[in-house]
Amino acid sequence: MPGTFSRRKFLKETAFGLIVLSAARFIPLDRAAAALKNLPDQLKFFSPMEFLIMENVAGRIVGTPAPGMASVEDVGVALRADAFLAGAEPEIQNQLHELLAVFNGALFAFLFEFQFSSFVNMSPEDQDAYLNGWMTSSLAFRRTAFQALKRLSLTLFYTDPRAWEEIRYDGMFLPWEREKKQ
């Protein structure tokens, strides 16, 4: 295993990280502007932009549902994430705010993946490539960040019974119900 190299060390202890972090918060967003108008107004944790990032991330991570099956929008993954994170410890909340800002930042996308827009402004194909870059990065903090987003998205999707039909999970059952359900 490589030595310790957390995202916080990278972001907080390098001047470069601080510049990236600062710049990432102020990148203008064009294609996202329309989507921002239709967001729920009762958010407890996310800013509208963060909500949009989370919704996009969750959609790409969970994948495209088969016709008639539940999507991340149906399940309300981003809204559930908002409620979940509103009750999280302050250090986790701070890290999530920082992570989403960096992850979505156009400057960061350019520096690490040579993409020329923020995450929410990318095409779905570019978003997948961008996520893949974080998942497989040689920088440990980027892989860590990807895992955080993956856990959040998948946990909040697959805990909802509406997500189970597509994977043919019938919930827990007793032995005498097994034949019927399987």
Partner: protein
């Protein structure tokens, strides 16, 4: 008055006196509470998590993670490389474990005696405790026909390859085989601490306070005061305060939160060893794709194991293979990649067989510290030998799956690492990346952060679990284990807890 007090019933600050105050209600705290209450001590148990009963357990991951697990199942090392699962409720991790009940391997106890000079925990001295607990918790082997398809993979595959595999002892009675052990048993068939030791402790006079979070401990002469907050379970916010005063305080908050409490209190750390020597019983898994239905969440979750490879080199290390109930969230997090390829794997959910590989560490280094908010931070570096052991374990588990009929086997790499035959394993493992967050890793058995040994400069507690620094201050939980066990720890913790509690009862007579 014997009772279970819950945060919802408390509106004003609580002030209590007791002979013994126990912080935590899992295997360590629950067993100590029963022994000491039955010995006539006035016992107060403080549990940060909630008190739930069978009717609260709806067999869903959402409810279980929210109510029963630390950080809703998201507790992890500081780099998120290892998810560390622990219970946070009355009964602690025993409420959500998969019932595996195994005695401490003799080579581990021998090492404790000869390397750490631990007294009184030899195999012979623990034998009567194991026998008593096994009877009390009805620990038994399941008959052949009760193994579910996921456990049969291990038994069938190992047998074909000539590896030793056998049934595991389980602490159940009238098990309904619903598969919900990890989500809280809705039938009270799992004889976990919340339905055995805790009710018996209460019957003997103990007061159990749920939603009571201990923040720090103050030592005033021979007396200790435990300060904390009563939590509103719905919002996790502070409701009011409490103070419990007692001559004997036992920390049983587990290997992550017990050292954190000692750090916050500034106690018992003259050796500088509090928080050190964390072992995780490092765990990863293989997923086999089978033609037939496995339904990895149904039936008895964990009833068989392959124990061929523990301590084979006499180096105290090695690995162990067990089945794992892959509930949908667990399965989704374990499967590699993301997006449509991930979704395609999830569509084959019913055909997934899952086996975990647990490594008994010998050269990894872990520790628990505090962050700026006073909460624990878990650090962990995997040693080269342990990583090699994990690779050997995963290859072995993959071979077992192929021998049992798997068409494909995947490891838990972030990037898909998929095999269609055993012959591909060596090359695939050489090609795979093994850095942080490139392979999903888990732990359900954190141990060792308040190490037990007789030498006060090398350890935090002595062989009776009493801190070297402060008389009457004890640690009784997985923290005290001098080394990784190599097996699931609940039976070891229960035995050490009962033995230490008996010593306390003998040596701290009830004040007249």
């Amino acid at each position: 008055m014997a009772m279970i007090l819950q945060g919802k019933d408390v509106t004003t600050p609580v002030r209590e006196n007791a002979d013994v105050c126990i912080i935590g209600s899992g295997c360590g705290g629950g067993a100590a509470a029963k022994v000491l209450a039955e010995a006539g001590r006035r016992v107060v148990v403080l549990e940060e998590g909630g008190y739930y009963t069978a009717s609260d357990f709806d067999m869903t991951e959402e409810t279980a993670y929210r109510n029963l697990y630390r950080e809703r199942g998201g507790q992890a090392t500081d780099d998120l490389a290892v998810t560390v699962l622990q219970g946070r409720c009355v009964g602690g991790s025993s409420t959500v474990n998969w019932t595996t009940s195994l005695r401490t391997p003799e080579f581990v106890l021998d090492r404790w005696e000869h390397v750490f000079d631990v007294k009184g925990l030899s195999p012979k001295e623990l034998e009567p405790y194991f026998e008593r607990i096994e009877k009390y918790l009805n620990i038994h082997l399941e008959p052949e026909e009760h193994h579910n398809p996921n456990n049969r993979i291990i038994l069938t595959g190992a047998q074909k390859l000539g590896y030793r595999a056998r049934a595991i002892g389980r602490n159940t009675r009238d098990c309904q085989e619903a598969g919900a052990c990890g989500l809280g048993c809705p039938f009270d068939a799992k004889l976990s601490v919340n339905v055995t030791y805790i009710p018996d402790a209460v019957k003997a006079g103990a007061v159990v306070c749920a939603d009571f979070k201990a923040e720090n401990i103050e030592v005033i002469g021979n007396t200790k005061r435990v300060y904390g907050t009563v939590i509103d379970r719905a919002t996790n916010a502070r409701k009011t305060d409490f103070v419990v005063e007692a001559p004997v305080v036992i920390l049983s908050a587990g290997a992550i939160h017990t050292p954190a409490l000692l750090f916050r209190s500034g106690l018992a750390n003259s050796s500088g060893e509090v928080g050190n020597h964390l072992t995780l019983h490092l765990t990863s898994a293989v997923l086999g794709m089978f033609e037939g239905v496995v339904y990895p969440a149904g039936g008895i979750p964990q009833s068989a194991m392959c124990d061929e490879f523990l301590n084979t080199n006499n180096d105290g290390g090695g690995f162990w293979i067990e089945a794992v109930p892959a509930y949908p969230v667990l399965a989704s997090l374990a499967l590699p990649g993301f997006g449509d390829s991930h979704k395609a794997l999830m569509r084959g959910y019913k055909h997934i067989g899952a086996s975990i590989v647990l490594v008994k560490e010998i050269d990894s280094e872990g520790s628990v510290g505090l962050n700026e908010y006073g909460r624990p931070v878990i650090s962990y570096n995997i040693g080269e030998k342990d990583l090699d052991c994990m690779k050997r374990g995963l290859k072995t588990a993959a071979r077992i799956h192929f021998a049992a009929g798997a068409k494909k086997v995947l490891t838990l790499h972030a990037e898909k690492n998929e095999f269609t035959s055993s012959g591909e394993l060596d090359e695939g493992f050489a090609r795979a990346r093994w850095g942080r967050n490139e392979l999903s890793l888990y732990s359900a058995h954190p141990l060792g952060t308040c190490r037990m040994a007789e030498h006060p400069l090398r350890s935090v507690v002595n062989s009776h679990c009493e801190t070297h620094d402060i008389g009457g201050l004890f640690v009784i939980d997985g923290s005290v284990m001098p080394t990784s066990l190599g097996v699931n720890p609940q039976l070891t913790i229960l035995a050490v807890a009962e033995k230490s509690a008996e010593w306390i009862a003998e040596n701290f007579p009830r004040p007249q």
